[in-house]
C-alpha cells in the first residue's frame, strides 16, 4: 500500500451547517425508496393519488391550447395578475355554485394548485410554534406545509363522519391550557384524503360551531367535493360562514392536475395578504394554464366531464371495495368512500403497514403507509389505498396481491408475538410529497 495521506473529512455537502432548522427532518427514507419501485408497470400501485386524466377529451384540450396560443399568445405567455385572471375568477364562482359557496370574484385568489393556496394561508397566519389542528389522519402534503412553517400539529380524531366536534373542542382546550396558540383548524370535509369519509350536514354545522366558539379560523380544503358518486354534492362549510372559513378549491381533479390551478376564497383582509404572498412566491399564477382552463370552462361541457370522472372513479371504487370484501383477511377493516379517491384500511392487530411495505413491493403492490398521514407517529396499523388511477382489473389484482402480503405478514408477526413487544420507531421524518 502506498504511503498514507493526511485524513480528509467531508460530509459531502458544504452547506450542511447552513440549513434552516426546519429542514432537519428532510432525509432520504427507505419508504420513499420503495416508492421508486412502485413506478414500474409490473407493480400495481394503489399508492399515488393521480387523477385519471386520460378520461379527459384530450383532443379538445389540445385544440383549446393551440387556439389560445395562436389567438392570444402574447397575453397567455406573459406575466399576469398576482390575484389571478379576472375572467377565471368569475368562472370559479360558477364552479363553486354546486357546493354552495357564493362570493365576489375579488374574494378569490388563484394559485398554482390549491397546494400553493394552502402554503400561502399557513405562511400568512402561522408563526413557528403555532398549533394547527388537523384530522387524524390528514393530507400528507399539508403536513409538509405545516412542518415547513414550523407549526405544531395536533391531530383530532375522526369517526365515520369525519372530524369529531367533541374531540375538536377538547383539543382546543387542551392546547390552550398548555399555553400554546391555536391558529387554524384544517379540514377536508368531503371524501377525505386519506380517510375516505365525509362530514354530513349536521357534522359540518357542529364542526363550524366548535371552531367559531373558539374564535378560530377554519381552513376548508375541498379538492373532491364534486366527485361524489351518487351525484350529490356536499355543501361546503364556507357556504355557511364567509368570514370564519377560508375555502380552498382546485381544478386538479375536475380538469387536470398538470395545469396547476387552484384557488382560495378568503375574507377581504386575508385575501389581500394572500395576494401579496402569492406575488412574493410566484409573481403570478400562470396565465397560460389559467386561460386554458378558462377557455375550457367556456367552450366544453365541463360539468358533464365531471360526471364522466365520477363514473370512472365510481367503477374503480367498486372494484376496490368488492375485492376488499372478497379477499381481505379477517381483522382488516376499511372505509367506504362515497366519492373521491381513497379508502383507509386498518390492518389486523399486530401488523405495521410501514414494516410490511417491503414485502408488498416485493409482491408487486404498493400503498402508502398510514404513518405518512400523521405528524406524531400514529397510523402504523393503517394504510391508504388509492383507486383513482389503475383500471378496475388492475385494482382487483392489486388487492389480491395485498391480501397475500397481509396473510404472509400475519404469519411472520404471529410467530413473534404481540405488537406491544415491539419498540416504537419515530415518525417518518419527511412526508411522501410525491404521492399526494
Amino acid at each position: 500500500m502506498e504511503p498514507t495521506a493526511q485524513p480528509t473529512s467531508t460530509r459531502l455537502d458544504p452547506w450542511v451547517d447552513s440549513y434552516a432548522a426546519r429542514t432537519r427532518g428532510l432525509t432520504a427514507s427507505q419508504v420513499r425508496a420503495l416508492f421508486a419501485v412502485a413506478s414500474r408497470p409490473e407493480v400495481v400501485s394503489l399508492a399515488g393519488g393521480m387523477p385519471f386524466v386520460s378520461a379527459l377529451p384530450l383532443d379538445a384540450v389540445a385544440e383549446t391550447v393551440a387556439r389560445l396560443i395562436r389567438d392570444r399568445g402574447a397575453v397567455a405567455l406573459q406575466y399576469g395578475s398576482g390575484q389571478g385572471d379576472v375572467r377565471l375568477r368569475e368562472q370559479i364562482l360558477e364552479v363553486m355554485a354546486p357546493v354552495g359557496v357564493t362570493a365576489h370574484p375579488d374574494d378569490i385568489v388563484v394559485t398554482a394548485g390549491s397546494q400553493m393556496a394552502l402554503d400561502l394561508v399557513v405562511r400568512v397566519f402561522c408563526d413557528p410554534g403555532d398549533v394547527v389542528l388537523v384530522e387524524a389522519p390528514t393530507y400528507v402534503t399539508a403536513l409538509g406545509v405545516f412542518s415547513s412553517y414550523q407549526c405544531e400539529v395536533v391531530h383530532v380524531p375522526m369517526d365515520e363522519q369525519g372530524m369529531r366536534p367533541d374531540a375538536l373542542r377538547e383539543a382546543i382546550a387542551v392546547t390552550r391550557a398548555a399555553g400554546k396558540k391555536v391558529k387554524l383548524v384544517y379540514t377536508i370535509p368531503s371524501f377525505h384524503n386519506p380517510g375516505g369519509v365525509t362530514q354530513g350536514p349536521q357534522r359540518r354545522i357542529e364542526v363550524l360551531e366548535a371552531v367559531r366558539s373558539a374564535g378560530l379560523l377554519l381552513l376548508e380544503d375541498d379538492p373532491y367535493g364534486l366527485l361524489g358518486f351518487d351525484g350529490t354534492v356536499p355543501r361546503a362549510i364556507r357556504a355557511d360562514d364567509s368570514e370564519g372559513v377560508i375555502y380552498l378549491g382546485t381544478f386538479s381533479k375536475t380538469i387536470a392536475a398538470g395545469l396547476r390551478v387552484g384557488w382560495a376564497v378568503a375574507p377581504h383582509g386575508v385575501r389581500e395578504k394572500l395576494v401579496l404572498a402569492n406575488e412574493t412566491a410566484t409573481l403570478c399564477p400562470s396565465n397560460l394554464t389559467q386561460m386554458t382552463i378558462s377557455d375550457y370552462l367556456a367552450t366544453q361541457p365541463w360539468f358533464d366531464q365531471v360526471k364522466v370522472f365520477r363514473e370512472v372513479y365510481r367503477e374503480r371504487r367498486d372494484a376496490l371495495l368488492e375485492s376488499l370484501d372478497a379477499l381481505m383477511p379477517a381483522g382488516t377493516t376499511w372505509t367506504v368512500p362515497g366519492g373521491g379517491f381513497y379508502s383507509w384500511v386498518t390492518l389486523p392487530d399486530g401488523l405495521d403497514a410501514t414494516a410490511m411495505l417491503p414485502r408488498a413491493v416485493a409482491a408487486l403492490v404498493a400503498y402508502v403507509p398510514g404513518t405518512g398521514f400523521f405528524a406524531d407517529g400514529q397510523g402504523r396499523q393503517s394504510l391508504r389505498l388509492s383507486y383513482c388511477y389503475p383500471e378496475p382489473d388492475r385494482i382487483r389484482e392489486g388487492v389480491r396481491r395485498l391480501a397475500g402480503v397481509i396473510e404472509s405478514e400475519l404469519e411472520v408477526v404471529g410467530t413473534f408475538g404481540s405488537p406491544t413487544a415491539r419498540a416504537e420507531r419515530p415518525a417518518a421524518s419527511a412526508p411522501y410529497t410525491d404521492l399526494a
Partner: protein
Amino acid sequence: MSIASEGRVVVLAGGLSPERDVSLRSGRRVADALRVTGVDVGVLDVDANLMANLAAQPPACVVPLLHGGPGEDGAIRDVLVALGLPFVGSGPSACRRAFDKPIASSLVGAAGVAVPSSMALPHATFRELGAAAVLDAVVARLGLPLMVKPTRGGSSLGATVVRSAADLPSAMVAAYAYGDIALIESFVHGTEVAVSVVEDAAGARALPVVEVVPDGGFYDYGARYTAGATEFVTPARLSDDVLAACAETALTVHRVLGLRDWSRSDLIVDAAGVPWYLEVNVAPGMTETSTYPQAVLAAGLDLGAVTASLVDLAITRG
C-alpha cells in the same frame, strides 16, 4: 484509443429491488462519468424491453449497476453470459457467493478474516420450533447487542441494531419483510470503514480506506443517502498498519470469493485494530454519497477513467 471509446457501452440501472432508486442514481453517475471520457453510453432499465434492446443494438460492453436482488445475486449476469455480452464486474457464481451473507462470511472466515459470530435463520425455524425459545437460544449464543438483517440485500434495508432482547422480535419481523432468511450477528464495536477494490492489468488493488461516521450512530438508509448526515474521513483515522490490514482484508475477500473488476468491502475495525468483515458489494454504490467514488477520488483517480478501464478489461477478456 481504448476499445471502450470505440464501442457503445450500456449501463444497467434500476430494476425492481428496494434499492432501485439508489441503482438509478449510481447508473446515471457512472454513465455521465463515462461520457466525459468519450465513451458512447446508454442507460437501460432491467425490464421487459431489455432483451429486445440488447438484441437490437448489442453493446460492446455492459456495466451492471443494479443493487440488490437480481442485480447482485448473479441472475442478470447469467443472462449476459448467455447473450455473450462482455460485462464489468464479478461473474454469476461469484455474485451468488458474495450476495448471500452467511455463505460469504463462511468462505471469508475460512480464509482467516475475522467475521462476527452469526446465525442465519429462516422464518420457518421460528414458526416450527417456537420463536421465544429460539430467540433465547440466539441471545444465549451471540449475546447482546446484535445486528439483525436480511441475508440478501443492501443499503441497510431491513437492518436493525438490537440492544435489548425485547427488541429482537420486531427486528426479526423487519428483516423478514425483505426475505425469508434473517442473519443475526454479534455486534462488533469499532470504527466502520469501507474498502474499495479495483482491478487493472496488474491485478487487484485496494483504494484508500474510507471511514464512515454517521451522525445517528447507525449507517442506515437515511445516513447513507442524505448528504450531510454522515462524516466521511479518507484515509480512515487508523494507523498505517491497521490501514494496511483493512486493505489486505478487502483484497482477501475479493480473491476468496472470486470477485472481479470492482468490489467494496464493509468492515468494522475493533479497538485492537482487527478488521472484521461485515459484507461485500459486487456492484458498489456510485451515488453522490457513496464511498466507492470517494475512494477513487482519494486515490487521485477519475471515476470515468476507472470505469472505462474496466470496460476495456471486460471487452478484452470477451
